[in-house]
Structure formats: C-alpha cells, structure tokens
Symmetry: C2
Subunit: 198 residues, 2 copies
C-alpha cells in the first residue's frame, strides 16, 4: 500500500482547493460562467459542496479566483517570452505576436477569458469586470514599455494600437484561416511602428 501522502501543493493552497479551481476554470472557460452551476463543479471535481464553500465563500469568489488564475497564466507566458528578448524590443514584440497568434489559432480556442467574462457581467463594479479591465490596462502598460524601447515618436498611441489589435485578435478567431493570425498580427505591428511618427 502506498502512503497516499496528502502533500500540500508547493504554492500554498490546499490540494482540494486546487482541484476545485482547476475544474471550475476549465468549465467556466469552456461553457461560460453563467452556464456552469456550482453543483456541476462539485460533481466534476469529485468534492463535497461544503468543501467548495469552505474555500470559496461564494460563486462570485470562485469566478474571481478563476480570472486571477487565468491572468497569472497569461502574464507567466508573457514574461517567459519577454525574458528571451530583453535586449531587442522588436524581437520581443514579434515573439508576442507569434505565441498570441498561435494561441488564437488553436482549434478550440474560446477567446480571452477576461473579455468573455466581462461580457457576461456588465455591472461596472462586478469583480469580473474589474479584473478584466485591470488585465487590459496591464497589457497596454507593458506594450508601452516596449514602445518606449522602440523609441517611436508617440509610444503611448502605439501601445494603445497594439493593445487593440491583440484584443481584436482574441475576439476575431472566426475570421482567421489556419495559421493566419500570427503573420497578420506581426505585419500589422510593424506597420503601426513604421507609421508611429506620423
């Protein structure tokens, strides 16, 4: 018999909490938040309802945790790509266009979780909206850093435009043919850089 040790996961949270959050994230992303009831999350994660409500006081809290998790994942990827090009802002931007284009082009890509969830909860003060808006502004901020490294005339406007094409790519997947997104994004980014002095 194995010891069946219940190791607490490296990152603080409990194992049960992690299982709930992972299951919920998958379901929320795949089917939409409102379409997924807590009972389904409980059943799919093989956990007691009481446990879910111990770790997340409310469904809304679970949704917020979901978005935070997706956020961390997104910026984690971003940072990993970023680090590989710390000396070349243009190459970094190209690399971002590449992984974002690749991600958008996946056959079951369902869009940016932040944007999708914000669309489900229009109330301006809803936690999901706040997370989503923070996410967008963080992207513009990071793009601003790149734009400044590129020494363009108006880095702020360029950053805004780059954020728009990236957000646009997230919601335009029905428009793309296989593999089209990366090249389209990259070419657009270069065009915007070239014109950023006008």
């Amino acid at each position: 018999m194995s010891k069946n040790v219940k190791t607490a996961p490296a990152h603080g949270g409990s194992e049960v909490r992690d299982r709930i959050l992972e299951t919920a994230s998958e379901l929320f992303y795949r089917r939409g938040v409102r379409a997924v009831g807590v009972d389904l999350v409980v059943e799919r994660s093989g956990v007691a309802k009481t446990s879910l409500y111990r770790h997340f006081g409310t469904k809304n809290d679970l949704v917020a945790a979901f978005l935070k998790r997706e956020d961390q994942d997104f910026w984690g990827t971003w940072d990993r790509v970023s680090e590989r090009h710390s000396d070349d802002a243009l190459a970094e931007l190209d690399a971002h266009c590449e992984w974002i284009g690749e991600r958008v082009g996946r056959r079951n890509y369902r869009g940016c979780p932040q944007i999708n969830t914000a669309a489900e909860f229009p109330e301006i003060d809803h936690p999901a909206r706040i997370v989503a808006e923070t996410h967008m502004r963080e992207m513009r901020r990071r793009l601003n850093v790149i734009a400044e490294k590129l020494q363009v005339a108006r880095p702020d406007r360029l950053a805004g435009q780059l954020a728009v094409i990236i957000n646009g790519a997230f919601v335009s997947m029905p428009l793309f043919e296989a593999g089209e997104a990366t090249e389209l994004l990259r070419h657009a980014a270069h065009a915007l850089i070239a014109a950023s002095g006008d």
Copy 2:
C-alpha cells in the same frame, strides 16, 4: 375619444411583436442575455407571456431576433455612411473609423452585441454564434471591397487587419480616454494601408 387605431407597423411585424423585441433588445444589450428572464421582458414590455411565446416560440428565437435587429441597425448605419463616399474609398474608411470610434466612446457603450452574445453562448452551433460569425465575415467582406478600391497589394490581408482593429476597438473601450478611439483607429488604418505592399 381617439379611434385608437391598431396600425400594423410599416415593416410587416405586428405592433406587439415590435414592442417585445425592442424591450428585449434593450434589456439583453444592457444586462446580458442570460441575465434577463422572459418574465422581465414580459413585465417591461407590458405584454402577456402568451403573446411573447406566440411571436417567438422560444427564448432562443427571441435572442436570434435581437441579434438580427442589431445587425440590421449596424449595417444600416454603415450603408448610410458608405453612400456618402461612393467615389472615395479612403474617405469612406475614415468616415467608418469616425462613427465607430464615436460609438465606442459613448459613456454607456457596452460593446458589440454580436461579440458579447457569442461570449455568452459558446456552443458552436448556437444560433447566436452563427449570427455573430456571419456578422464578422460580412464586415471583412465589406472591408475587402474598400481595400480593393484602394488598389493595395494584398487587399485580403488588409481587410483582415482592419476587421481586427475594429473588433478590437469594440472590446477595448476601457482602454480609451474620451474621444481617443477615432483618431487611434484612423491612424492605424492609414498605417496598415501604407504598409500593405510589404
């Protein structure tokens, strides 16, 4: 006493049907489709539930009608702008950037109904998704016509990029400061045109 004539509206549908659809459209757009129950639509439109279900067999049918209505409205505006610039493709594109930018910048703008509703209903064969994807492809098609008039090297790619920035603007309103969107869009469009031979 007035005659209280029950004139059938010019466009075929009955007056009751119109009232229901108008009320539902407002509510769906403002609060999201899933957040609005048929009972609320019934109450707000001052109509019997039976009447709603006579004109729209199902809530889904009502949702589809809502999206179709929004679609017609959108292309109606588009066409009106288009006609004013039938001889100058660049001026037409500028004009589209202007009204779209203006619309996005409104203080209670809640995004593109097609995109928002598609986010609420991920099932690939859901009527709402189909309408939304048709809407997007129609936009790319129209932008393609403009791109061809502009005689650029790769009109198809340019049309895709323009569609992306427009969709991007629809979902990026938290990023924009007041009145920023139009200039940002227009400048980006020009940049993409200028680079479309590369």
